[in-house]
C-alpha cells in the first residue's frame, strides 16, 4: 500500500508473484532519468548444500511498516538533501518458492542514477537486518533449515546492534 505522506512509496509482503513490469511501471516519472530494479532470487546452492526451494514467513503488518520506514529513510537520506523526490516500490514474497523464483523486488526511480543506486542498496541491506521476515531452506536430501539472521532490538536499544550473525542470504 502507498504511504499517505510519501505517495511514491509502495510496499507489499504477500504470497502474490512479483509482477516485474508492474513494479517498473509504478516507479517512473517524466522527471526521472534513472530507474534501478533489484531482484532477489532463490539460489540453488547455499553453504555447499543444494537448495531446492525456500519458504518465506513474515509478521506482515510489522514487516510492511518497517519497509515503509526504510523507504522514508532512503528518501530523506538520498533524495531530500539534493532537493528531489524518489519513487520506491518494495515487494517481498511469502510462501514456498522454487529455485530461480524472485523473492524480492526493489525499484527506485530518481532524477539521477547515483541516488537510485544508493537508495536501492540501502533498502535491501536494511530490509535484511530489520524486516520481520524469515526463510527456511529446503535441500535436495529432504532436510530443511531455518536460516539464522539478524537479531532485532527493542526500541530503546541501538537499532543495529546484533545478537547473532547472519548465515548468509539465499539471494
Amino acid at each position: 500500500m502507498a504511504t499517505p505522506d510519501f505517495p511514491r512509496i509502495e510496499v507489499r509482503v504477500s504470497h502474490e508473484s512479483i509482477d516485474v513490469p508492474d513494479v517498473l511501471k509504478k516507479a517512473t516519472d517524466r522527471g526521472w532519468g534513472a530507474e534501478i530494479l533489484f531482484l532477489g532470487h532463490v539460489r540453488d546452492i547455499n553453504h555447499g548444500k543444494t537448495v531446492v526451494g525456500v519458504s518465506y514467513d513474515a509478521f506482515v503488518p510489522h514487516a510492511e511498516k518497517t519497509l515503509r520506514e526504510i523507504c522514508v529513510e532512503a528518501a530523506e537520506k538520498f533524495g531530500e538533501s539534493l532537493g528531489y523526490e524518489l519513487g520506491m516500490i518494495v515487494h517481498h514474497r511469502l510462501g514456498r518458492l522454487a529455485v530461480g523464483e524472485a523473492s524480492v523486488a526493489i525499484t527506485v526511480g530518481s532524477r539521477h542514477r547515483e541516488t537510485a543506486y544508493e537508495a536501492s542498496r540501502y533498502i535491501i541491506e536494511e530490509l535484511k537486518e530489520r524486516a520481520a521476515i524469515w526463510k527456511k531452506e529446503h535441500y535436495s536430501d529432504g532436510d530443511s533449515e531455518w536460516l539464522k539472521g539478524h537479531a532485532l532490538c527493542s526500541h530503546t536499544r541501538h537499532r543495529h546492534s546484533r545478537g547473532s550473525e547472519a548465515q548468509g542470504p539465499a539471494v
Partner: protein, 88 residues
C-alpha cells in the same frame, strides 16, 4: 489474571503445530514477565534448550513495533515473538 496471545514466527513455528501460544499472567505483568513464561513453556519441550537460546536473541512485538521489557501487557493483547530476521 490477564490472558493474551503470542504468535510464533520463523524457527519458533517448529515448536508447535499451533501458530499461537495462549498465556496467562497476573495483572500488571510486563514483557519481561512474558519472556519468563515463554522460557518455561519452551523448557518443557525436548528441544527446550534450542528454543530458550533462540528466545534470548528474540524480541516481543505487536503489529506496529518491538516492545520494551518494561512495557505492560494488557488483557487480550496479541503479541508476537520475533527471532532474528533474514529476509531477502
Amino acid at each position: 489474571m490477564n490472558r493474551f496471545q503470542v504468535r510464533l514466527f520463523g524457527a519458533f513455528r517448529d515448536f508447535s503445530n499451533e501458530s499461537t501460544l495462549a498465556l496467562e499472567l497476573p495483572e500488571g505483568a510486563t514483557v519481561a514477565h512474558a519472556r519468563v513464561a515463554l522460557s518455561e513453556i519452551f523448557g518443557q519441550s525436548p528441544s527446550g534448550l534450542h528454543f530458550k537460546a533462540l528466545l534470548n536473541d528474540s524480541v516481543l512485538a505487536d503489529e506496529r513495533t518491538t516492545l520494551l521489557e518494561s512495557d505492560p501487557i494488557s488483557a487480550g493483547a496479541e503479541l508476537a515473538i520475533l527471532p532474528p530476521v533474514c529476509g531477502g
